[in-house]
Structure formats: C-alpha cells, structure tokens
C-alpha cells in the first residue's frame, strides 16, 4: 500500500514558527496592557513593561514565538482582552 507523505513544502510550513505580535492602539492604557501581558504570557512585570513600551514607541512588539496552534490561542486571549494582536509567520 502506498503511503501518503507530506510534501517538503507542507512539512516546512508546519515547522515554521509563528510570531504573536501586539500592535499599538492609543486607547489602551499602559497599565492595562502590562497587566494583560503578565497574565496571558506569565511574564514578570519588568518584561511585560518592556514589551508594552516597545509597542508604545515602535508600534508593535513580538510577544511570543512558537507553534502556530499555541500562537493562535495567545492571539485569541489577547483579542479577548481587546488588544490589537496578530499572528505572522517568522521569516
């Protein structure tokens, strides 16, 4: 019986890590954004504030990188907290 094998392109796509990106929004309070980062990702306050400031100053920050399914779950949580978040394939 012939086996069905994933094509090299599919295997590469499945292995490619994904970024969870948070984008700047002038409405969200800095204290609120920091609190969300601490709760969703389990980051200590210092790291959460560093990402918050990066979002504020640079317009975006990569909060996490890894498997697509986990990245989607994080983005869903962030949307639930009303943050502007997207997932993107890493380069």
């Amino acid at each position: 019986m012939a086996e069905t094998l994933a094509s090299p392109e599919t295997e590469t796509a499945l292995d490619t890590p994904w970024n969870v990106v948070v984008h700047n929004d002038p409405v969200n309070l800095m204290t609120y954004v920091t609190k969300v980062f601490m709760r969703v990702f389990g980051y200590p306050r210092a790291r959460a504030e560093r990402h918050m400031l990066e979002v504020h100053r640079n317009g975006r920050s990569i909060l996490w990188t890894g498997a697509r399914e986990v990245a989607e779950n994080y983005v869903q949580q962030l949307h639930g907290d009303l943050l502007l978040a997207t997932l993107e394939r890493t380069e």
């Binding site: 409405v27 989607e72 869903q76």
Partner: protein, 162 residues
C-alpha cells in the same frame, strides 16, 4: 467624586450627580459594535488582512466566543448600575461595586472606549490634547473616553496595578 475601597470588599464611587450617573449609564450603549468601525476594532482580523482563510475561520469560530466574553462583562456592569435607578432622582448617591466585579468593569470600560474612538474617528492627537473638538457629538465622545479611562485606571489601581 471619589473612589474608595470599603472594608466590606466593596469599591464606592460617589457622590454621583445626575451628569455622572448619566455617563455611567452610557457605558453599555457606547460599548456596542453597531457601527462598522467599532465592529472592525472590537473584532480585528488575526492575520491583519494577509490571510483570508485564517481571518474567515476566525470570524466563524472565534468571534462568537469573543462576543460572549464581551457581553458577560457588560452584563456585570448592567447589574451593578441597576442600583442607580433605585434611588430618588436628583439626590446625590454612591455606586457600590464588589471588588470581584472590577475586572468586568475594566473590560467593559475598555470596550466602550475603543468603540467610541472608532465610531467617532477620534484621533490620537485629539485623545492626547484633552481639548474639545468642534463637533458636539465627537466632543462628548471624547469626554466619555477620558472619564471611562479615569475609572479604568482607578479600578486597575484598586486591583493592585501601580
């Protein structure tokens, strides 16, 4: 108006005059996604528009869960605000919110602010300048955004976020 924690695990806002009561009552209608811009902001595409399949699946399978989360927060606020209607009009009164409800308030206030800014196309400069804008409706929306932000900040402080 002051915001203070009572010993019974309650946060008290007061005294509230008629204007402040009305601003509080407007939280729920302000938080609705009945405007395309508000809907776009409250339910943004997870790919930013670069992956139509992902965005379509998100809309079908994730957005209903998000709507449930958003509605749950607004229902808590509505329940707490019901006490405002139980007192004679014109008299100054306080609003008492259980500390356990503050996260719902923070979320609902944020939702209202985001929807107001999107619906009325308030700019970052207008938000930062703290000045009135020419249009009456937009000026009132700006006032609401700042007042709800003040409440949100105060509630975050009560929950220990300095």
């Amino acid at each position: 108006m002051t915001i203070q924690r009572l010993d019974s695990g309650i946060v008290s806002l007061g005294p509230l005059n008629a204007v402040l009561c009305e601003l509080l009552r407007l939280i729920l209608p302000s938080a609705q996604d009945d405007h395309p811009a508000a809907q776009a902001r409250l339910f943004p595409p997870p790919s930013g528009g670069s992956d139509d399949d992902l965005d379509a699946d998100w809309k079908s399978y994730v957005e209903p869960d998000l709507r449930h989360i958003f509605q749950s927060s607004l229902e808590v606020i509505e329940q707490d605000l019901a006490a405002l209607d139980q007192n004679p009009s014109g008299r100054r009164r306080d609003l008492r919110i259980p500390v356990s409800h503050l996260n719902a308030w923070i979320h609902g206030l944020n939702q209202a602010r985001l929807a107001l800014v999107a619906r009325h196309r308030l700019t970052e400069a207008e938000l930062e300048e703290h000045t009135a804008v020419d249009d009456e409706d937009r000026s009132f929306a700006l006032l609401q955004t700042h007042f709800y932000g003040l409440l949100q900040h105060s509630f975050l402080h009560e929950l220990g976020d300095r």
